[in-house]
Amino acid sequence: MLSFSARHTDSFVERTWRRLTESLVIVVALAWAAVAAAAPVHTPHVEAELLAERTALVPGEPLTVALRLRMAPGWHVYWQNPGDSGVPTTIAWDLPAGITAGPIQWPAPRALPAGPLINYGYEGEVLHLVELAVPASLAAVGTQTLRARVDWLVCKEACIPESVELGLTLPAAASAEANPASATTIAATRRALPRALAGWQASAAGQGTSITLRLAPPTGAGDPGTLRFFPFAERQIEASAPQTLARAGNTYLLTLPVASDLAGPLPRLSGVLTASGTLGEAITAATLDLPLAGHVVPGARPDLATTTPVGTDPPPARADLTLWLAALSALVGGLLLNLMPCVFPVLSIKVLGFATHHDRPSTLHKEAFAYATGVVLTFVALGLALLALRAAGEQLGWGFQLQSPVVVTALAALFFVLALNLSGVFEFGQFAPASLIGLSARRRSLDAFAAGVLAVVVASPCTAPFMGAALGFALAGSAWVTLLVFAALGIGMALPYVLLACFPGWRQHLPRPGAWLGRFKQLLAYPLYATVIWLVWVLGAQTDNDSVVRLLLALLGIGFALWAWRILREGGTRLWAAAIAVALLGVALVAWPLLTGSHEVRVNTPKGTGTAATSDSEWEAFTPTRLAELSGAGRTVFVDFTAAWCVTCQVNKRLVLNDGEIRSAFAHKQVALLRADWTRRDSAITQALTALGRSGVPVYVLYRPGREPLLLPEVLQRQTVLAALAPL
């Protein structure tokens, strides 16, 4: 029809002229056909028609008609409040005498990104219902034609205003039936219309530049999932700024950013609340009209730097992972966890242990099952702990456990004990309490279970490839999704061990035990000692020199106590026993300040004082404001989301980010470098991660002006980074 493909050969004036006349041509060409046949009218991007719910106009009875718009893929029309740009669809009726039309009954809109801006509107197909009042005086004979001039703005990258004349001819009769062609869709549209939120207790309070919507569900309500509020009027809520959802006990708190161009005093908050989950039986959208307590002032200028604004679109829209794909990623991630430096030394000993067993298969199977149970249950317990803390309002993600100095201290002690064990300072078996040594087989199952728990604990400092995306998905979903993904991680981690137990043939490929095994064990102690050094460094980054010294003294005490224990078991003399008792007392005195000492976590200041943040001069500390400034100045920004306790992060930093070629590539392309140091708790960073669909580090992102943020893989390769920088 209209040769859009030839546009680049046309002059501006020609093109402009044609665009303006285009809609007029359509109006003239299609108006008559439409009125006569009531067939859908087609414009280049929209199919439009009027539908009636019933087969006739009945005097004195209202009739619902629908304006059905079907947009070409990727194109959208607007809601009553169009958001950052656009125009709502309008219907100007030309109706037979006496018939009057009510307002458009707007379906719940969606948030549609246009670059960094957000529009409120509809993609695909939408029905706008209008109720016609038919007077009792209408003669119930003949036919009547309903005419409407409909104007809309349809946009994708470009925006095109279109205008059509639609008509619908209906008989006027004493009675009517449901119109088989449209009654069902109209009824379904009506059911889905947002209505006053029922059963929930809702209130709104202004707090300066934000408004908090408190939403308490009725008992037994389902999970609402992600919530979003759409104000009926413009210049109240900033469309492109994030709305954040938190949960305090049983109440949902949705924080809304006040518009930077706030229209004036805001005595009430009125609009539509949408939920990715449920707001009641088969209800996903409801209207709210609440008095606004507190006061509001114009909010921050929206950050138009990021193409996917933080938290704007509910996770379903960014669900590039399905539940099963997330579970599969978690499974693979769990599998790879076995190879990470914190786990490998411990588990390789366990696996090599197989080679020495000449047990019946049933014993091995039981043991493998107990081990797998230990692993999976511990992962599920971690998931539950994370859910509970997030429900209490904490901004946490994967790795949260390592943001606590107490946990880091405990892990350092644990790795030290394991390393001493591999070095041969003492044997583990000697620790098993006598009560556990009942039936031999049962004890071995308990041991295996404990080994499973231990494996997860030692794995907790690590994030394996594939885990990041899966965990991000898990934490954005419901509690069940979170637990399913955590369980999948556990199953993946336990899998190699279980397979080796179930397929005796595979075990034959394991190396035979021999004298080398003892030396190999001793060798594997060294990665563990290295892990201890790293944890001490993490603690130093989190707290201070005193805490580090206390931890080192505690390690000294532990080492000495274990050695002493062995001496006693091997039958030391009384003199030895007395000396050891005195020494242990000394250790206890040293350990005391460790337990009572302050473990207050230093909190990241916006300037960032963390070790990971300031060690390299070309890196600046990440803050959302700084990112916005740099992007606002048209700079490309690379953000390294990292933490001192994240091994993968440190490896990537040393091997890739600090590499000379990479550094000169960054400099040459004038990429601004920001480092988001998540060593300590930092809700701004947690939110930035959430916006990227992640819940843990490492995450590497390239923010390019006017384009989608580019996520690089968790295990960085120099080539990947160079390839990402090349087109800049």
């Binding site: 300066g208 161009d261 200041t605």
Partner: protein
């Protein structure tokens, strides 16, 4: 807990500090952008004068409405004669399908008989973002002290129909008339309407 609250407070304070940089009463963000001929133009060059910023995009039907009806050119001429500096800014990103090069935009403006001081190519979109410009057209009026005194729509008729210009109440003319007469601007902020700025 108290440290966490302190952090939140600090973050809020910083956010509040950057708030409403483009709102009426706020200082207009400075910029230096090349015009369609590649000559750098700075807002600072016009200190002491009233400046109008017009966000534009020749491909946008709302912009076309105001040029086809000669409304925009009329305003440009009317106020330039009274010493107001009129700058048209195109913030369409260089990667967007509606992006135009300097000569292309200049040709289009010439064909329209436009009368602005300069048309600026903000192809990195940085200035558009600094002003948080959302639509084309979107209008800003800056007073001689560098303060934004109007931000919003060109008029009160949200449409693409050139015929609607007649009978519309023009906010830019109202703001400039009041300001040049030494009066405070009555309507200092409105909802801009149009296409989204193609960031």
């Amino acid at each position: 807990m108290s440290t966490r609250m302190a952090t939140i407070g600090l973050v809020l304070a910083i956010l509040a500090g950057t708030a409403s940089a483009q709102a009426p009463g706020a200082a207009a963000p400075t910029f230096t952008i090349n015009d369609t001929a590649g000559k750098p133009i700075a807002l600072a060059d016009f200190k002491g004068k009233y400046v109008v910023l017009e966000w534009t995009n020749p491909e946008c039907p709302f912009v076309q409405k105001h040029y086809v009806s000669k409304n925009m050119q009329g305003l440009q001429k009317e106020w330039s004669e009274r010493g107001v500096v009129w700058l048209s800014i195109n913030s369409t990103n260089a990667n967007h399908s509606e992006f135009k090069t300097g000569p292309e935009v200049a040709n289009w403006m010439r064909a329209q008989g436009s009368a602005q001081k300069a048309t600026l190519l903000d192809s990195s979109s940085a200035t558009g973002r600094a002003y948080a410009a959302k639509t084309t057209p979107q209008m800003f009026v800056i007073d001689p002290a560098g303060t934004v005194i109007y931000n919003g729509a060109i008029d009160d008729k949200r449409s693409t129909n050139p015929a609607d210009v007649k009978g519309a109440s023009n906010y830019v003319r109202a703001a400039l008339s009041e300001a040049l007469a030494g009066k405070p601007v009555t309507v200092a902020s409105t909802s801009p309407y149009g296409c989204s700025v193609k960031y």
